[in-house]
């Protein structure tokens, strides 16, 4: 194998990197090596430490301990720009391109070549160089095409071309295939292979294990902030990788629930379809039941929640809440029917950061405090908000004069939960309810969920932490590419099976991958 007849030193070596956030250790000594001309697959569940490791490599964060070296030199980038200059290109899922500029302009935006003494862009040179770069990434487009007119996959290739222009030695691709069509994926692989042959090292982060197996010579599996194993592709297969990713469940403590799901259906979804987002999604949630939705990044988990809550339009399908059909779903109509929706984007959709706790909590149900013609009973609202704040164990009782932005992440999330509890929802859709909050706050959230269910509410729980979904749910649905790919009863919960279902191929028939 090529990887065995390697050069005498690795291109990049990472040794014992540790990192803590707010006193919580997220990386417990991550080590791996990347050799010139190889692609290293980096896999692991959400929260296993992939992103943090890559952010450290890309200069976004600085490690607490350990060392890195790049081509034999000590490598300790203080900023993304420094990392870029050292030859590490990080291509994020959210691309950093200007859609209003052409391909070539995006390639050279920071360092346009000028023509001799005059300050004009040397268009001829730019065009020529852009063509070369585009040819290298196999993108047969005029360099003058606006990036805004490109498909997602094409934009990604432009980003790669940009990395090539910067003469990157190491290319980090973060979930590069999730938003690509199969043909675009094939093309990406061809380019990756070409780059390898030129000696570029590639770190390929993906949940799509088939893709990883297809393009990477070696695979490193991370779990709980540490490397569980690195091996050659030939010695691995998808089930083996999954079992390495999952390991044994550890210490998550999920409070017991005393009640069983009731008979009546709280939420009934039938044939929900929106082109490009969801396809023929049907399921029920009963009162007093927690249904978990498990899926990988880009599987359409959050998108499904948004469709149900009426934030995005739907083409066909029906939604019923406690027997009432939502005719034209909008947040207002959904709320009136008894739905509540905790968004994954707390900062931009969940809270008014510049408003007080009371104002945030009251927002969902001001009419409940209506006095006379449209007035708000301020005292009643304050009292109720105070009660809710105590119920969710908010750190402060100064609900009137504490701004949301001054709270910690966990407390912010409690405010979001409180504001929805104000409506006493029949069905509570929770999208990543514990993202970015500490362990104690997580426990509180779990407790609140249980209490809600015990009182007859239904919960639709979306989480990227499979532990959480398994610990809380009565039933688990798996989703991939906007389709439901599996359903598991509590008695039949099995991590590997669930993960396998979440990775089940969907969509148009995939070409056979050798």
């Amino acid at each position: 194998m090529k990887t065995n007849q390697r050069a005498d030193q690795p291109l990049l070596s990472v040794e014992g990197i540790t990192k803590s956030f707010f006193g919580v250790r997220v990386l417990h000594g991550v080590s791996f090596e990347l050799w010139p001309g190889e692609a290293l697959g980096l896999v692991g569940e959400n929260g296993s430490g992939k992103s943090t490791s890559m952010n450290i490599l890309g200069g976004v964060h600085q490690p607490d301990g350990g060392r890195m070296s790049l081509a034999g030199q000590l490598y300790a980038p203080q900023s993304p720009r420094e990392a870029g200059r050292a030859g590490i290109a990080f291509i994020h899922q959210e691309l950093n391109l200007f859609p209003n500029l052409s391909i070539e302009e995006n390639l050279f935006i920071t360092d346009f070549p000028k023509r001799g003494g005059v300050p004009f862009i040397d268009r001829g040179w730019v065009r020529k160089r852009a063509r070369e770069l585009l040819a290298e990434v196999d993108l047969d487009l005029p360099p003058t095409r606006l990036v805004g007119n490109l498909a997602q996959g094409e934009r990604q290739l432009v980003e790669i071309a940009k990395a090539l222009h910067a003469d990157a030695k190491v290319l980090i691709l973060d979930e590069p295939t999730t938003s690509l069509t199969r043909r675009e994926v094939e093309r990406l692989f061809a380019i990756v292979n070409r780059l390898k042959s030129r000696g570029v090292g590639i770190i390929f982060i993906s949940h799509a294990l088939e893709d990883v197996m297809h393009v990477c010579e070696r695979v490193t599996v991370l779990r709980d902030g540490a490397v569980v194993g690195t091996d050659l592709r030939e010695r691995l297969n998808v089930p083996a990788i999954i079992s390495m990713m999952v390991g044994r469940s550890i210490d998550a403590i999920f409070p017991e629930r005393s009640t069983k799901p009731r008979e009546e259906v709280a939420l009934r979804v039938r044939g929900l379809t929106q082109r490009g987002v969801a396809n023929d999604v049907s399921f029920d949630i009963r009162a007093g039941e927690v249904v978990g939705l498990s899926g990988l990044m880009g599987s359409g988990r959050s998108e499904l929640a948004r469709l149900i809550f009426g934030l995005d339009p739907i083409e066909s399908g029906t939604i019923e809440v406690a027997g009432t059909r939502l005719m034209r779903p909008t947040p207002k109509a959904s709320m009136a029917a008894g739905l509540a929706f905790l968004t994954e984007d707390r900062r931009n959709e969940g809270l008014l950061m510049d408003a007080s706790i009371v104002d945030n909590i009251g927002l969902t149900f001001l009419k409940r405090f209506r006095v006379g013609p449209g007035f708000v009973g301020g005292k009643a609202l304050n009292t109720t908000a105070g009660e809710l704040a105590r119920m969710v164990h908010l750190s402060t009782d100064r609900v009137q004069d504490t701004l949301a932005k001054h709270l910690s992440g966990g407390n912010q999330q409690k405010v979001v939960i409180a504001k929805w509890l104000l409506r006493r929802p029949k069905v509570f859709i929770l999208d990543e309810p514990t993202r970015g909050i500490d362990v104690g706050a997580k426990q509180e959230v779990y407790r609140i969920i249980n209490r809600l269910v015990e009182e007859g509410g239904a919960v639709f729980l979306i989480s990227s932490e499979i532990e959480e979904v398994m610990g809380l749910s009565d039933r688990i649905l798996t989703i991939n590419k906007g389709e439901i790919t599996g359903s598991f009863e509590r008695s039949g919960f099995d991590r590997e099976a669930i993960l396998a279902a979440a990775m089940a191929p969907v969509g148009p028939k995939r070409e056979a991958t050798a």
């Binding site: 934030l311 947040p331 207002k332 709320m335 929706f341 968004t343 931009n348 959709e349 969940g350 809270l351 008014l352 950061m353 510049d354 408003a355 007080s356 104002d359 009251g362 927002l363 969902t364 149900f365 001001l366 009419k367 209506r370 449209g374 007035f375 708000v376 301020g378 004069d401 504490t402 701004l403 001054h406 504001k419």
Partner: protein, 345 residues
């Protein structure tokens, strides 16, 4: 309410450490503008002794009133992070429409009902233009600035054209006494105009501070996404803000028209600077989510105070322009520093 309380709270925490913290708290408080008004008045007394007379203060009060009414509407619109440039055209159009209805030389109506009907029509003009602005913004996805720029040109032009059908000159005169009395009569010693403005201010304050709509307005201004996800009828809220702004401009038009006893189509043409200036001086932010009636009252007071003293001194127009422009810049700079100061900690 929110920001200032947070500020004073933060300042409280740090109080006692050094003297400048107390000064900072004061500068950041909403009473800064009021204090500046007092300071300014005291400074001016040696130069314009009349400033200490009751009559001048009556003038200041009366000059403030119509401007304050327009500014109340602008405050509401700025709270939702919009802007309403069309208030000037609304004032002008409402003025000539109202006058054309009630003028006693060949108006549409005569008798005791003429004046109330005319005033109702004026308010309707304001509400209608506000509705058009609001619908264009919420339904056609147009930026408030461009919408109201277009409507201000359109209805400003319409006002001038409209007048030609009702008068051989550019204004409409001979309004009923009942209407004119708004401009020059008192109720229990208080001019009617003041009563109207104070009532409008109290109502707007009530709406902003105590009603559901008020909370929706702030929520939409702070973050329309969050508001929408929380079930706030964002479009209706934006629509209401522009309708309210239009109606308040029309109400101001009633006071202006009554004061001049004449409907003229260029009535509001020159007051846009004063309107936006006064609201911004008061501390309302152009970025939305922040604004209070009392701030606007202080802002209007400050602007009118400057205006009045300069008038009393016979200062030329250009001095007035330069000073007003500088005051607005200073207020904006103060606000930027204030936000930065808040943002840093």
């Amino acid at each position: 309410m929110l920001v200032s309380e947070a500020v004073s709270r933060r300042a409280e925490r740090e109080a006692g450490r050094s003297r400048w913290k107390a000064a900072a708290r004061f500068i950041l408080s909403e009473y800064l503008v009021l204090a500046l008004c007092v300071l300014y008045t005291l400074v001016m007394i040696p130069f314009v002794p009349e400033i200490a007379t009751v009559e001048v203060w009556q003038n200041i009060l009366s000059d403030m009133m119509p401007l304050l009414i327009v500014c109340l509407g602008q405050t509401i619109v700025l709270i939702i992070a919009g802007i309403d440039l069309s208030v000037t055209a609304i004032i002008s159009l409402a003025s000539v429409v109202g006058a054309s209805i009630m003028t006693q030389s060949d108006g549409y109506l005569s008798g005791p009902l003429a004046a109330p009907a005319a005033m109702a029509a004026m308010l309707l003009v304001g509400a209608g233009i506000g509705l058009l602005n609001g619908l264009s913004i919420t339904r056609l996805n147009m930026p408030a600035f461009m919408v109201t720029l277009a409507t201000t040109n359109f209805f400003g032009g319409s006002a001038i054209w409209y007048t030609t059908f009702h008068s051989t000159t550019t204004s409409i005169y001979d309004l009923p006494d009942m209407f004119i009395s708004i401009g020059d009569r008192d109720i229990a010693g208080i001019p009617i105009a003041v009563v109207i403005a104070v009532a409008a201010a109290l109502i707007v304050h009530g709406v902003l501070a105590y009603t559901i709509l008020g909370r929706w307005l702030y929520a939409v201004g702070k973050n329309p996404r969050t508001a929408y996800v929380s079930g706030v009828p964002v479009r209706t809220t934006i629509l209401s803000a522009f309708i309210l702004s239009g109606m308040l401009a029309a109400l101001a038009s009633i006071v202006y028209t009554a004061r001049l006893q004449t409907g003229t189509p260029i009535l509001g043409e020159r007051i846009l600077l004063d309107v936006i200036g006064a609201v911004v001086i008061g501390g309302t932010s152009l970025f939305g989510g922040k604004g209070k009636v009392i701030w606007t009252v202080f802002g209007v007071l400050f602007l009118v105070l400057i205006d009045t003293t300069l008038k009393l001194l016979g200062a030329s127009l250009f001095v007035i322009y330069v000073i007003k422009g500088s005051v607005i810049l200073a207020a904006a700079l103060l606000d930027t520093l204030r936000t930065r100061y808040l943002g840093v900690r």
